[in-house]
């Protein structure tokens, strides 16, 4: 009996509560993510062929475009989609609230403020230290953590009653962060900030490997830590006291989800700016397709987010060639009517 109790239930039960359909769905999502990635690497204002690249038939300039521009961009869009998707799903589970989204509740804005603060005020630091590339993502993570912690204390531990309240706090935080970013933009020189639109509408352009690698590490780590907590997030839906009675260390669960969401959202915002509504739409689509249990919703949202974001970025790049649409414009154009529909639907419940 002793051995039974020493087992940690979050990991061992993972596959017991995922249905065959859900495993099939996740495999399909994974394959479409790979397929979209290949499409996104191939198409663009500069034509490329992966087959030629693998056969070594490409020119130097084609190789450079592929490995230094196209590939990092596709990876970043996939990572941003995955991190926003899974964080949206995890926060919705944690808040027991289908309207939680890292963008709506101000987490992305907090991250953006942290990153801009670091860029404008800490401008010289990057060149001085070898670990300087980590500073922007770290500042963004600090910003997003601060926002989630604020939300946590202001909604008194994410009670289900606090739905409207949490969204109102989110509006206020978004406004505060907007003012902060505005002031920083105003006092900064052109070279320090790429542009205000970058932070408010998001972009995957201009990313380089040295900036991307720390973000890959942070997001991958956050996702790996988050997924084993899926079953506990399910139990949390019964209410905190009930989850506790079923053996969940609720405090630990909360802090783990808060920190991993803050880390992954912060890291992705640091490179791609604020991309709205992804964290809201993706988990809902995932649930509509295959069910609500978090063993499926968390990894499913990560895969769905990555696949959708890669294809959305491809569309943003090729639809008005040679210019490109800001990615956040596309996601918000689709997301805001969806948000309205969701509010309408919840009201009817």
């Amino acid at each position: 009996m002793e051995s039974i109790r020493k087992l940690s239930f979050q990991t061992s039960q993972f596959f017991s509560f995922v249905s065959k359909n859900q495993i099939l769905l996740m495999s399909l999502l994974f394959m479409s993510m790979i397929f979209f990635s290949l499409l996104a690497i191939t198409f663009g204002s500069y034509g490329l062929s992966i087959v030629d690249f693998l056969l070594g038939k490409t020119s130097d300039i084609q190789n450079t475009v592929l490995t230094e521009i196209r590939l990092p961009r596709v990876i970043l869009s996939g990572l941003a989609g995955a991190s926003l998707g899974i964080s949206g799903a995890a926060l919705q589970g944690l808040f027991r609230n289908p309207l939680a989204d890292p963008g709506l509740i101000g987490v992305s804005a907090g991250a953006a403020l942290g990153a801009t603060l670091m860029i404008v005020l800490g401008g010289d630091i990057f060149s001085q230290y070898s670990l300087g590339v980590f500073f922007i993502p770290l500042a963004a993570i600090a910003g997003s953590s601060l926002v989630i912690l604020m939300l946590y204390f202001m909604t008194k531990g994410f009670g289900y009653e606090g739905v409207t309240y949490m969204l109102l706090v989110g509006i206020a935080i978004n406004a505060i962060a907007g003012v902060g970013i505005g002031i920083l933009t105003y006092i900064s020189s052109d070279s320090e900030l790429r542009s205000l639109t970058f932070w408010t509408m998001g972009s995957f352009g201009g990313v380089t490997w040295p900036l991307l690698i720390p973000v890959i590490l942070i997001i991958a780590l956050a996702i790996i830590i988050m997924i084993p907590y899926s079953r506990q997030l399910d139990l949390l839906q019964l209410g905190e006291p009930e989850a506790f009675r079923l053996g969940v260390d609720v405090q630990k669960l909360k802090y783990t989800i808060i920190l991993t969401c803050a880390a992954s959202v912060g890291a992705s915002v640091a490179l791609s700016g604020m991309i709205g509504f992804v964290g809201l739409i993706v988990p809902h689509l995932t649930r509509l397709l295959g069910g609500v249990n978090h063993n499926y919703v968390l990894p499913g949202s990560a895969l769905m987010g990555a696949a959708l974001m890669i294809i959305a970025d491809l569309i943003a790049r090729i639809i008005i060639q040679p210019a490109e649409l800001p990615i956040g414009l596309i996601t918000s154009a689709i997301g805001s009517p969806f948000f309205l529909w969701l509010i309408f639907k919840i009201k009817k419940l």
Partner: protein, 257 residues
């Protein structure tokens, strides 16, 4: 081997909720807590389940102090059914039921789960509910699902027989007559297999007809506790509820089963 509380006192927001309470939940016994609204019944249950830490006194499970039992391990010793809030997402009844399934480190987890689950579904008369969405069920049906979940939580591998307990807060609220009787039978069966039962009840008739022992609580104090027969006193109940109460031998005995 008991769930044992010694000199429990609890204050919330400067108000004394529980005052020097000592009690035991014993194996195979049904203990009912009765008392007027605001007596502290649910708070006492929360202290016993470990959800709230009392300011004075201590709780122990099977002679081990509660603090030295991990949160996860407690789930194997006692399962709790409380009053419930709504659930935000569209879980199926089966999903909610399976949330009671704890981790048992053995290979045929799926076989054991589905075998015991079927048994519990039958016992709680849930065959036609199991594939519905939980949020579409009526209040009484949701209660039955939660009750079934607490039963599932107490599953043990065939070769083990650890002492466990069932703590129930108003288990029969919203239930129709038939399901009230059925749930009561499940609870009695659980007790005769050795599980210790604690129930909070408002229906005094039910409490007196089914319990082995009764604990009468008022204003956070134990007025009296003991064998059900000994506790059957109009004077005692009148003191607790501050109203005239008479106890009649029921002239027409309606039996539901």
């Amino acid at each position: 081997m008991t769930i044992s509380a010694k000199s429990i006192s609890l204050e919330l927001g400067g108000k004394k909720i529980l005052n020097n309470i000592s009690m035991d939940v014993r194996p195979g016994e049904i203990l009912s807590i009765i008392g007027p609204n605001g007596a502290g019944k649910t708070s006492l249950l929360n202290v016993l389940s470990g959800n709230i830490k009392s300011h004075n006194g201590n709780v122990s499970y099977n002679n081990t102090p509660l603090e030295s039992i991990s949160i996860q391990e407690r789930a194997y010793i006692r399962s709790v059914m409380s009053q419930f809030q709504s659930i935000a997402f569209d879980y199926s009844v089966e999903d909610i039921l399976q949330m009671g399934w704890l981790d048992h480190s053995h290979k045929d987890i799926k076989e054991d789960l589905s075998a015991f689950q079927n048994q519990v579904i039958k016992e709680c008369d849930m065959e036609n509910l199991i594939h519905q969405k939980f949020n579409t069920l009526s209040g009484g049906e949701q209660r039955r699902v939660h009750f079934a979940r607490t039963l599932l939580q107490l599953w043990q591998p065939a070769n083990t027989k650890d002492q466990n307990y069932l703590l129930l807060d108003e288990p029969f609220s919203n239930l129709d007559l038939v399901h009230k009787v059925k749930m009561m039978e499940s609870i009695k069966a659980k007790a005769s297999s050795g599980t210790g039962i604690l129930m909070i009840l408002h229906d005094l008739n039910l409490a007196y007809s089914f319990s082995d022992k009764i604990l009468l609580l008022k204003n956070g104090r134990v007025i009296e506790q003991g064998e059900t027969k000994k506790m059957l006193s109009a004077r005692l109940l009148a003191r607790a509820y501050e109203t005239f109460i008479s106890i009649d031998e029921n002239p027409i005995n309606i039996r539901y089963y």
